[in-house]
């Protein structure tokens, strides 16, 4: 893919140079050989003007701004794609990680165009995926209540933080993303009134530029707040927490796309500025440690979370992808022993995204969100500490129904990263790890990032959030819930059997494939 993108880059440069040159060539031939050559003069002149507009006029399409007329082929092929795919190639639902139907929904929401579909669902209704169960007595819109969630209230945190939409932009650092992509998201978050997680990429220089609420993420390498030996520098953290934009701190213990492994920034994406912001050397992959230096067991982990709470004075959460449930149970019991809890736990599903991770970690390690979330919720309830903290969910939650399903399973708010990248115009080229992202979002090549118009893209973020919220309200009304807090697992078909076997009582363990269809439809807890 990388080689292909480089060729596209080169070919587009050739085309962009050849077009105006060919106007002159055809013009000369038309004047000196035969007037018929002027057909070529007129055609290439019109194409050159169109190319000029694509490259330097319009700001809606990053791909056209970067590659010009050549990229038009993508839009043309896309416009005839449904017919081609229907007869020749893959279906709309066959691509991964997000199929074309899912991506198209985000694109339409972000562009503010009609996002309804016709004729019927294209999903495979014979599979075992989670679905929402509506009420026989849906509510009217006027009966719905506004959403509000206050982090830090459980322990009376003086700098508690309240959100009024259950959506946040998940962790994406400068480094993984380009500067204009980060700024587009941050400006979009500001416009939409939602917080944005900075990712673990050190001092959030570009995130801070737009004035949105930030959740500063501290990864295992502690970029931006580290001592030279990789331990936490309290003074740097305290200084950062003083910034008015920084509302919460998130300690990242593991990530769904690479659980049990530290973050990874390929050397191709390390510029002088990134090396400086992260205090690392250029020319080498930056691989964060697999764990926090301070955290070697449950006791030290709880102590460390408390230390971050005390130093920062802000609500502090922990992000994890669930591995062995027993370890999480032990951690929760240690929190009880020390009477010290994080202000929130963010459960990242194994299906979560990343800029770069080894394939085996991406595919085969960690618990998927539905099961991980249900298991964490179950453990917190069993230990009777559910009211001591907030629960967030992340992992492919790009559409409202999946977000509502996660909230029915215990999450009080959701994170999405890739949903917002799609809103910015990501075409899922799968080159986030190669510094060749054709739409300029996950690259630092100035030739490619020039395609990202911050103001225009931030509007898409705002529209995407507005459309999500509108559909949240419609779904809540359909489920008969006045607010998100009324969502329960019984609103989700198939959720009752999702708790991991290690945690669930025998009565709860019912593998989906062993439940008879009528029993599943009736929501029977077998």
């Amino acid at each position: 893919m990388a080689a292909m993108s480089i060729q596209l880059d080169r070919v587009s440069r050739i085309v962009n140079t050849a077009l105006p040159s060919s106007v002159l060539v055809f013009g000369a031939l038309g004047s000196n050989v035969s007037f018929y050559f002027h057909f070529g003069t007129v055609t290439t002149l019109l194409l050159s003007l169109l190319n000029l507009y694509y490259r330097h006029g319009q700001r809606d399409h990053a791909l056209l701004r970067n590659f010009g007329l050549l990229a038009q082929a993508r839009y043309i092929v896309e416009s005839v794609g449904p017919e081609l795919r229907q007869y020749l190639f893959a279906s709309d639902l066959s691509e991964k990680p997000f199929n074309r139907a899912e991506r198209a929904e985000v694109y339409r929401k972000a562009k503010g165009t009609d996002s309804t579909a016709a004729f019927g669902s294209q999903k495979d209704f014979d599979d075992s995926s989670v679905r929402l169960l509506h009420s026989a007595y849906p509510l009217d819109h006027e009966e719905l209540e506004p959403y509000e969630l206050r982090f830090g209230e459980e322990r009376g945190c003086a700098s508690s933080y309240t959100i009024d939409k259950p959506i946040a932009i998940s962790a994406m650092s400068y480094g993984a993303l380009s500067a204009p992509a980060v700024r587009s998201l941050a400006r979009g978050a500001k416009r939409a009134g939602i917080p944005m997680n900075t990712g673990e990429g050190g001092y959030p220089k570009y995130h801070l530029m737009e004035g949105c609420d930030l959740i500063f993420q501290m990864g295992t390498a502690k970029f931006g707040v580290r001592n030279d030996d990789g331990s936490l520098d309290d003074s740097k953290l305290a200084e950062l927490a003083q910034k008015p934009e920084v509302k919460m701190i998130e300690i990242k213990f593991s990530q769904g796309a690479k659980p049990g492994k530290g973050g990874l920034l390929p050397k191709e994406k390390i510029t002088d500025e990134i090396a400086e912001l992260r205090n690392v050397r250029k020319g080498h992959d930056v691989i964060s440690p697999a764990h926090h230096k301070e955290c070697r067991d449950a006791s030290s982990t709880v102590s460390f979370i408390r230390r971050v709470q005390e130093v920062s004075g802000l609500p502090v959460g922990m992000k994890l992808c669930l591995g062995r449930p027993g370890e999480f149970t032990e951690l929760v019991r240690e929190m009880k022993r020390q009477d010290s809890f994080p202000d929130y736990v963010s459960v990242d599903g194994a299906e979560g995204g990343t800029g770069a991770a080894p394939r085996s970690f991406m595919d085969d390690v960690g618990m998927p969100l539905e099961r991980g979330l249900a298991t964490v919720q179950s453990i917190l309830q069993d230990e009777k500490v559910r009211a001591r903290l907030k629960l967030l969910a992340a992992g492919k939650l790009i559409n409202p129904a999946r977000q509502i399903a996660a909230m029915a399973q215990g999450a009080q708010a959701v994170y999405s990263a890739r949903g917002f990248l799609l809103a910015l115009g990501c075409i899922q080229a799968l080159q986030c790890n190669a510094n060749t992202c054709p739409v300029g979002l996950t690259t630092h090549d100035p030739e490619l990032t020039r395609g990202v118009d911050i103001d225009q893209k931030s509007q898409r973020v705002e529209r995407y959030v507005a459309a999500l919220m509108k559909e949240h309200e419609e779904l809540l009304a359909s489920l008969g819930c006045r607010n998100h807090a009324e969502l329960r697992p019984e609103h989700v078909w198939g959720a009752l059997s999702l708790v991991a076997p290690e945690v669930a009582s025998p009565a709860q363990i019912v593998p989906l494939n062993r439940i008879s269809q009528p029993a599943r439809e009736m929501g029977v807890r077998a």
Binding site: G30, F35, T41, Q58, L64
Partner: protein
């Protein structure tokens, strides 16, 4: 822009370019002379006449007015090149009438193409 204005522009453009195309088809002596000067007589005359009649039909159709306007602008650009490089501003002592018609056609086709640019096939969604 007001749709009545656009329809008026389309009608004017269709009349000018359609009339010019029909005259060429019927073998108008001036056109024969011009195309002979360009070294395109008679095949080029019939080719251009066909394009002009098609453009007029598209402009008049309404739903295909955008490609019609583009085709009209393309043929007019060719004509302007002919005047600029071979024919000169005045043709057969017409006092520049031919050239004025060309420029008028450009002036009425331009707004049609701009307003209806999203209706262009293939590229419309990106404009």
């Amino acid at each position: 822009m007001n749709s009545k204005i656009i329809w008026t522009c389309q009608a004017i453009a269709a009349c000018i370019i359609g009339g010019a195309g029909l005259l060429k088809f019927m073998g108008n002596p001036t056109d024969q002379l011009l195309f002979a000067e360009l070294g395109m007589e008679p095949f080029g005359r019939y080719l251009i006449a066909s394009l002009e009649v098609i453009a007029a039909a598209l402009l008049a159709s309404g739903i295909f007015a955008a490609p019609g306007a583009l085709l009209a602008i393309g043929t007019m650009l060719g004509a302007i090149i002919a005047h600029a490089t071979v024919l000169g501003a005045e043709v057969q002592g017409d006092g520049g009438l031919h050239l004025v018609l060309l420029v008028t056609l450009l002036l009425v086709s331009g707004p049609v193409l701009f307003v209806r640019r999203r209706e262009l096939p293939l590229v419309g969604s990106t404009l």
